[in-house]
């Protein structure tokens, strides 16, 4: 047997191996899953630019698969696809962690602002309850309407938290806190004024 006859099976085997190159479907699926999970964790909101890039990487990966699929079987090489899939998966996992962290921080900030707002509104309502039901009613009724409005607005904060719209929840809660403090000051001033007078007995009007 000469050397030429031994090379033929080796070449055939090499050709067969090359012809059998297939896209790394598992890695691609893993990358897609990781990107999807990143999106679900809020990456498109909290790390929007990075998320857009990882989506771009995924698109580039798919184009590469398509390009390789379009070639003759013996020329296909999915090495770059595999490389891109691994990178995309890794980036997506990093984004998921970052988005989760940022989302948790935003949630914590919103919850804290909500608590501060709740306490401020409770203090305002307590002050309203202290106000005498005497004669100077216009200002007090107006303040009471304001306090009730603040109480009702707390529901909007909760709704924003429930829908994970933490920026809206936080700004609303901060606004309620500020307004509540202003109303409390107004009540204290009114109480100081009315406190000098004798509250009237309730009467039919």
């Amino acid at each position: 047997m000469n050397s030429r006859s031994t090379m033929v099976p080796v070449l055939c085997a090499l050709l067969m191996l090359t012809a059998c190159a297939k896209p790394p479907t598992e890695q691609i699926a893993a990358a897609e899953k990781a990107v999807s999970e990143a999106q679900q964790s809020g990456a498109s909101t909290y790390v929007a630019d990075e998320y857009a890039k990882v989506q771009g990487s995924l698109a580039a990966l798919k184009k590469e698969v398509s390009d390789q699929d379009g070639k003759l079987a013996i020329f296909r090489d999915y090495g770059k696809v595999e490389q891109l899939a691994v990178a995309a998966k890794s980036d997506a996992e990093r984004l998921k962690a970052e988005a989760t962290k940022k989302k948790d921080e935003a949630k914590a900030a919103a919850l804290q602002a909500q608590q501060v707002a709740q306490e401020a509104v409770a203090a305002t309502l307590a002050l309203v309850a202290k106000a005498p039901t005497g004669k100077d009613r216009a200002a007090l009724e107006s303040i009471k309407a304001d306090a009730e409005a603040l109480k009702a607005s707390l529901n909007q904060v909760q709704m924003a938290i429930d829908t994970a719209d933490y920026p809206v929840a936080q700004t609303k809660a901060v606004a309620i806190h500020e307004k509540s403090q202003a109303v409390s000051h107004e009540i204290e001033a009114a109480l100081a004024k009315i406190g000098k007078g004798k509250p009237s007995a309730a009467k039919k009007k």
Partner: protein, 382 residues
């Protein structure tokens, strides 16, 4: 001359090798580093502009192209390319850089326009809100608006907060909603107080006042007409006006009284049912009116029947024209209040049975009608 030929060949080969060696460094770099850095700079500019949040489609388009080219850069970086070969990748990067620069310019302008819109809207709504507060306060109708003023205030605070955070779209959205809320307030006021601008209603009130004055003339006695819009009590004797006094109304006095505790001052024809002198009232002096009259009872029954008044609410009573208990608490629950020096003058000139007619307004151009008109114009402008 074989030696000479060999030397020529050596020289030619030497120069050829030198030329090849000289050209090789030019072929090694597949993509110039500056092209990559330029696109990276564009990406940084877009991130600084928060393009992914502000204009997600534009940024997604850029990011997709950038990532596609980046993967090619990474794959092509070790390739040797002849200088005369066209470098598609470099061309694509330069094109992306150019497109990206245009996007940065456009988004910068758009963002500035949005910032300016948010700023203008905030200023506009704040101005309108201040104006409305003054106008509403001027006609004592704050309570008509219920919780709406606070809602507007909160939205404006949010608009400011988002503006400070550079989230101009959200800022504009909050300011827009505040503007809508203000418009709703104007509608609500118009709905609740529209009768002050209703010509037929005013003619009806004028007729009631006229009848009262005529009664005073015919019966040669006193009569009182109170105009809620003007906040004026006018005393007539023998059909002649003899005095006018400024008055304060209930804390919700501008409205028409419907039930007990609503703070509204009733409108209608009444009589003084009793006089309470010093020691008989806590309000210095008081003229008790015969509220509710038959018309008040009929309206109350109808509104209760139709569910407009809760079943737990009584019709109320003890509506008086009275003085001030003390100046620190100078507000009434639904009565007509005069300062004490004027109350004693009135008290001494009025007998039990004196007719008292309380109307919304006596003139078409009353303060409430004028305010409603102004609010209507502002609503259209906002």
């Amino acid at each position: 001359m074989p030696g000479y030929g060999l030397r020529i060949t050596s020289i030619v080969l030497g120069w050829g090798a030198l030329a090849l060696a000289g050209s090789l460094p030019g072929c090694v770099e597949a993509v110039p580093q500056d092209a990559i850095e330029a696109v990276e700079n564009i990406d940084r500019d877009l991130m600084q502009l928060r393009a992914a949040e502000f204009s997600p489609n534009d940024y997604a388009q850029f990011a997709h192209q950038w990532m596609a080219l980046k993967s090619r850069v990474q794959a092509d970086e070790d390739l040797v390319r002849w200088p005369w070969e066209p470098n598609d990748l470099e061309i694509a990067l330069r094109r992306l850089q150019e497109e990206g620069a245009h996007t940065v310019t456009r988004l910068t302008k758009e963002r500035e326009t949005l910032r300016h819109s948010a700023e203008s809207k905030i200023a506009q709504v704040e101005g309108r809100s201040r104006m409305m507060t003054l106008q509403v306060s001027g006609i004592d109708s704050r309570l008509v608006l219920g919780q709406k003023p606070v809602e507007t205030d909160l939205l404006m605070k949010q608009a400011h907060a988002f503006y400070e955070q550079g989230q101009y779209d959200r800022s504009l959205d909050a300011a827009d909603r505040a503007a809508q809320n203000l418009a709703m307030q104007a509608v609500l006021l118009s709905h609740e107080l529209g009768r002050y601008a209703n010509r037929d209603q005013i003619i009806g009130w004028q007729q009631m006042a006229k009848d009262t004055i005529t009664w005073s003339r015919i019966h040669r006695t006193s009569a009182i007409v109170v105009s809620k819009a003007d906040r004026v009590l006018t005393l007539y004797r023998n059909g002649q006006k003899i005095a006018s006094y400024p008055v304060r109304l209930g804390f919700n006095g501008i409205r028409e009284k419907r039930y007990q505790g609503d703070g509204a001052t009733p409108e209608g024809r009444y009589r003084v049912s009793s006089k309470r002198g010093q020691g008989q009232t806590q309000f210095y002096r008081a003229l008790v009116l015969d509220y509710p009259n038959e018309e008040d009872r009929r309206r109350y029954r109808l509104e209760r029947k139709t569910g407009q008044i809760p079943a737990s609410r009584a019709i109320g009573g003890q509506i008086e024209i009275h003085g001030v208990e003390n100046e620190l608490m100078a507000q009434t629950l639904g009565c007509v209040m005069l300062d004490n020096p004027q109350m004693i003058l009135l008290f001494d000139r009025v007998e039990k049975g004196t007719p008292v007619t309380i109307v919304g307004a006596l003139h078409e151009q009353n303060s409430i009608a004028q305010t409603l008109e102004m609010l209507g114009v502002q609503r259209k402008e906002t």
